[in-house]
Amino acid sequence: MSISPIQSNVPEVTSKKKNLLSKIISQKHLLIMLAPCLIWVILFCYTPLWGWYLAFVRYRPGFPISSAPWVGLENFDRFLFKSLDFGRVMRNTIVVNILTLIISMPLEISLAIVIYEMRFKVYKRVMQTISYLPYFISWVIVGGIFFQFLSMQGVVNNLLIALGITKEPIMFLGMPSMAWPILIFTRIWKNLGWSTIVYLGAMGGIDPNLYEAAYVDGAGRMKRIWHITLPGLAPTISVLLILAAGGLISGSFEQVYVFQNPANMEYADTIDTMVFRMGLQQANFSYATAVGIFNTFCSLALLVFVNAVIKRINGRSLF
């Protein structure tokens, strides 16, 4: 550790030759301030890492962990190659995440541009207020709202019948084939408005001179958006893509849990909900831990991989 020169706002008179110990003593109030946070991080972030041990033993609840026999990678083997869950759960998680990303990103960018280009200030503000609201509503309530919306007597069914598209009301929530569209749509509905904030922030950082120069050169609005705004958003888009890659195989538990029911389980079961069900409801502690570890490392690998790819393509990266 390099010893940096001590600045003058230390209470007592300091000499440059103070060693680390006296430095720590003179800064003890800072260390006391930091202590709760450090204790918290050790307890709630680092101690659970020790629980990874469970993945390599055959642990049965009720018996001491030390007596559990060491089984090496057996739990991973069971999940990856011997269970029917793996394919199903991975498929659901990845498909829902990727489709959400593909559909929502262009929508988010267009909405951000539309908000940014809006000339009427009041209208713009009202629009932002309304479209950010769903982000602050819990998944439970979003679930409740959409259960109502999609129910047999709900608005959607009424509309479909009125338009003559179906004769019988459709039971959206109980249909396995509707599980993905519902998960994707509700996730986009909840986050669309709020996610424009990042893009709007990035647009605020684009040099206004560029727009003026383009205007003088005769570029219309679409041209300016295409040649200035979108390239200006590229760094933000790449950062968001990298982060999305890291989250590719971890779904939003709360959402999936709310929309899951016995009828659509085949298509609405994701890694997170499976870990919860296996681990905490059925007490398969070792198995669920192995799945959790697999998930963590895959996410990390994806993050690093996409980061490297984007770095190679356009020289920008997260780290």
Binding site: L54, F136, G144, F253, V275, A288, G292
Partner: protein, 302 residues
């Protein structure tokens, strides 16, 4: 001349397209809420006819009254409010203390501590190991499980640290010359100067607390400690919908000696949603002030 007119028209078209796009989105966002609102204030018997859109056909406050007089929901609302208040205060305090300490260049080992705090962002324990840790800390079935595991937030810490760094050091120095110690400087100078930022982060933290049902689902089995979102989740998932209605009936007849007016599970569910979403709608205008004014935009850009 003609080119200019043509351009003018295309600009107009663009504006019209913009407004249409936004109106469409507004409708798509608001319609589901209004639909729920209509159900909550419509008589259950009438709702059963179907076809309700965005306004109640037969207005009644009965659904809402039933929900508000239900003991389970009342208890849950108290728990939710208590955890939101205490949890937000504790989280902001601990995070702000850490952020202040880490904003000081001369803190010994600052870089190492930051790395130590960043690693858990990438590698974390699994649901099972978290559960075991909570068990050993005696937090299962304990009200504190709502508060303590959320007592520190890394992202809030980064935002606060960035903000504290912008406060001129001369202010602190002059206070120190006047004899104020480190804690006094923090409480009397740093916190008051950061009030807008702290208010914004408090509101976000509070919303997170209010909306969380995961903690309840995982670690609490004592029904007296259930939060509003969790009870609502059970209602929404309709696991115990029928028992809920039966409880209501017993509760109501036991007290007033008469039958419950016609109410359907649907109406009750929608009224419960309205109750749970109400606090969010109340704080939303305050929240909105911060992110529209760019407090949060500035942070996201970091």
């Amino acid at each position: 001349m003609r080119r200019r007119i043509k351009k003018y028209i295309s600009e107009e078209l663009f504006d019209i397209f913009n407004i249409a796009f936004m109106l469409l989105l507004c409708v798509a966002t608001l319609y589901p809420y209004l639909n729920v609102l209509a159900h909550a204030f419509n008589k259950g018997a009438d709702t059963a006819r179907g076809g309700l859109t965005i306004y109640p056909r037969v207005f009644t406050l009965e659904n809402l009254r039933t929900v508000l007089s239900n003991d389970e929901l009342k208890q849950a609302a108290i728990i939710s409010a208590a955890r939101t208040l205490t949890g937000t205060l504790l989280s902001i305090l601990i995070t702000a203390l850490a952020a202040y300490a880490l904003s000081k260049r001369y803190l010994p080992g600052r870089g190492a501590i930051l790395v130590f705090l960043t690693i858990p962002m990438f590698i974390s324990g699994t649901a099972v190991s978290n559960f075991i840790v909570m068990h050993h800390l005696g937090l299962l079935n304990n009200f504190l499980v709502y508060i303590i595991p959320r007592a520190f937030n890394f992202f809030n810490m980064i935002i606060m640290r960035t903000y504290f760094c912008t406060i001129p050091p001369s202010l602190e120095e002059s206070a120190e010359i006047d004899g104020a110690s480190g804690f006094l400087v923090f409480a009397r100078i740093i916190l008051p100067l950061s009030l807008p930022m702290l208010a914004a982060l408090s509101l976000f933290t509070a919303v997170g607390h209010w909306n969380d049902f995961f903690t309840n689902l995982l670690y609490i089995h004592d029904h007296r400690l259930n939060t509003l979102q969790y009870v609502l989740m059970k209602i929404v998932r309709e696991h115990n919908m029928m028992s809920f209605i039966n409880d209501l009936r017993i509760y109501q007849t036991g007290r007033t000696g008469e039958m419950v007016p016609q109410m359907t599970p649907e109406s009750i569910r929608n009224a419960a949603i309205i109750v749970a979403v109400f606090p969010i709608i109340v704080v939303y205008p305050f929240l909105q002030k911060y992110f529209i004014n760019g407090v949060i935009i500035g942070e996201v850009k970091e």
